[in-house]
Each structure stands twice: as structure tokens, then as C-alpha cells.
Symmetry: C2
Subunit: 193 residues, 2 copies
DNA sequence: GCTGGCATGGACGGTATATTCCAAAACGCG
DNA sequence: CGCGTTTTGGAATATACCGTCCATGCCAGC
């Protein structure tokens, strides 16, 4: 019986995600969102709730559609070490090829919001933990396969590698220099043993 | 001849720095600043200009009084490696002992503002380059002194170490877990050779 | 094709925000 | 003490912002 929506909620959410990614949370107004999403104000509020819940959904979408696939792709590489290398070179390629210097929405949001938005912090922390766990698995398998030196604690190496990745995303906001990012990625792999 | 100021501009700027550090740029209103700094609105504008220039001065102050001294202190340690270790353990101690999870104003500002404020980006980049240069010097001297393995490029190692440091500051915003931060610091030193 | 019900457009309200203005007050100096 | 200069308090302005409301529009089923 009801009238059907004149917009695709999923596509609209993607637009919101992209805008928050480019501008951050506070710097993005609801008017900006209305324009970018091509959705009427009332429909936006009816569909996504207020600005905070829209942001939460945009961040969730970012994690699910941008970060998670990269993580899963590491399992499909020819070897554990190849998976790690692939992850890092995708990061380098993305950062170097982003003239807008958006960086990573998760890192940006952690810096801007984590200290006053526990829910946001928890979402990002969960993803960070998943990354770290997967890195640890890959490192352990690479050690077992003799691709890197055995003996060092995979969990500790994974924590360090995750820090390097976050650090690279910060650096990409200042100067997305491809050569330097590649140098960091290479040093990171070398540091695993 | 003129009437003298009723406030200490330096102390007021410190208060502004602390507020921006805690809340970020966009989330801090001029009203917040007026209250926190204990300065009249008109005096604030007359002394520091508008909100953007006040922020720039606060960030400059942060770099000069918080970051730069830590960097210089690395030269006073007993050895190059001790300087590096000292820098990292100060970072761990500060991050773990910050219940407000403010993180680092420079990293926070890079994530929030760098893509749309070239001046801010340049200020932070300059400091990041100085850190990297000093790390490279320390690494080179540690190699020469036989404290770490020689042969690896000090500049590349310094870039990696700087990334780890930024990554630790991001992580501190999500979960300032002392043991994990210490683990990262230890792995970082081990990764130098 | 009528009707119930949701979606939509655009305006609206109230508040917050950044910045300016002005009159009054305070200081240093002659 | 008085004068000129500057600071100061607080009001004022203009805009921006978030969230809501209502009249209109549109769709699905009977």
C-alpha cells in the first residue's frame, strides 16, 4: 500500500560514506549530506535517523565494503607472505593514488571521534583487532612455511605491523609520496624476519 | 600609555592548545575557548585573530613545547639506542597514562584537517620530517656504535619507525593498553636489527 | 478509480556559531 | 591628576545548523 522510496538507500549511504570520508564528521553538515546523497531531508531522517546514526552506518559500511574485503583477500594470495605483501602494496597504491588525501575513514574517525564516542571507538577497535588477528595468522603461517624467520611471536609482530599500517595512513594525509610509502612497506616486510 | 592586558597571552594559548587537543578543531567552539582560556571574546580576537589562526598558534605551541623537547631529549641519552628506547617509552607512558585519550594533537589534526588546510599540513609535515631525520641520525649512530646491526639504510628504518610511532598514537585513541604499547615499542626496537 | 498510507518537498523553529561593535573602564605617562 | 590609548564586557549581527512539521504527491491494492 505505501508509496515506494524514490532513492536507493544503499547508494545514498555510499554517498554519505564518501562525503564523511572526504570531510570528516564535524565538518560535514546535514545540508552537505542532503545534497551529496540526493535525498530529501525528511527522507534522510526517516531512513537513517539523525546525523550521528547516519555516520555510524556509513562507518559500518566502510568497514564492511572497503576494509573487510582487503583483509579477506590476503587469504587468497599464493602464500602467506604474498598475502601480506599484497595488502601493503594495495595500501600504498591506494594512498598514492588519492589526490584528495582522504586517508582512511577508520583512522580519521578514531582521531576525530574515538575519545568522545565510545560506540565509534568500539567499531573501529573491533576492525583493528580483526586486522591484527589476521596478520598474526599470516605471520604464523609464513613462519611455518619458512618464508620468514621463525621464533618471533606472531602476535607481537602483527601488532607492530598493524601500527605501521595505521602510521602509513596518517602519513598519506600529509604527503602521499609513493616511493616513501613503498620504502615503509618494504621495511615492514623486512622487519618480520 | 596603553591599558595593559588582564590576562597572560602565553597561559591563555596553552589553555587553547589543551582544549583543541582534547576536542579537536571543529568540535571546539569559540565559546568553549572563551571559557577555557578565561579571556574576553574581543580580547581573544584582538590577540589571536580568528579561530583558525588561534588554532595554528596552538598547534605551533604544541609542536614547540610538547614534541620538540622529546626529540631533543633523545640526544642527551647515554647512547643512541638508549635515546630511541627513551623516546618510545615516554610515548608509551604518556599514552597509557592519558585517561582522556587525547592522543597526539599533531596526528589528530593531520587526520581532521590536513586534506583541506595546507598550512596545517605543512606545519605537521615539517615536524614529522624533523622526527624522521633525528631518528635516522640516531639509527646511524647506533649502527656505528654496534648497538644494532649495520648495513640497513638508516633513512628507511627511520621512516618505518616514524610510522610505528604514528600508529601507536592512533592506537592509543582506541585502547591505551600499556602492555600492548610496550610490546609494539619492543618489536620496533627489535626490528631495527 | 478510489482510498489508505507512506514518501516527498520545502518551509519553519529554535538554537548554536563566528565575528564585530561600542561604550565603559583601566592603565601608563606627562 | 588628566589624557590618550588600549583593553574589556557584553550586547548585537548575521549566518549556519540540526531536526521537525505539514501539505502535497505518489504508489499499491480493492
Amino acid at each position: 500500500m505505501p508509496r515506494s522510496k524514490a532513492f536507493d538507500p544503499d547508494a545514498a549511504l555510499r554517498k554519505a560514506m564518501q562525503l564523511f570520508w572526504r570531510q570528516g564528521y564535524e565538518a560535514t553538515s546535514v545540508d552537505d549530506l542532503v545534497q551529496a546523497m540526493g535525498v530529501n531531508r525528511a527522507s534522510l531522517y526517516a531512513t537513517f535517523g539523525d546525523k550521528r546514526s547516519l555516520f555510524r552506518r556509513a562507518l559500518a559500511r566502510y568497514i564492511a565494503t572497503v576494509l573487510a574485503p582487503r583483509l579477506e583477500a590476503t587469504a587468497d594470495a599464493g602464500s602467506p607472505l604474498a598475502g601480506l605483501r599484497g595488502l601493503l602494496s594495495e595500501l600504498v597504491a591506494f594512498s598514492a593514488g588519492d589526490p584528495q588525501r582522504r586517508g582512511c575513514l577508520a583512522v580519521n574517525s578514531a582521531c576525530e571521534l574515538a575519545s568522545r564516542e565510545p560506540e565509534i571507538a568500539a567499531m573501529i577497535k573491533t576492525q583493528a583487532d580483526a586486522l591484527e588477528l589476521q596478520l598474526a595468522r599470516l605471520i604464523a603461517r609464513a613462519q611455518a612455511a619458512g618464508e620468514i624467520a621463525a621464533g618471533r611471536d606472531p602476535a607481537a609482530l602483527a601488532r607492530m605491523l598493524a601500527s605501521i599500517i595505521d602510521g602509513m595512513r596518517v602519513r598519506a594525509k600529509l604527503a602521499p609520496d609513493r616511493a616513501q610509502l613503498e620504502s615503509i612497506a618494504a621495511s615492514a616486510v623486512a622487519a618480520l624476519g
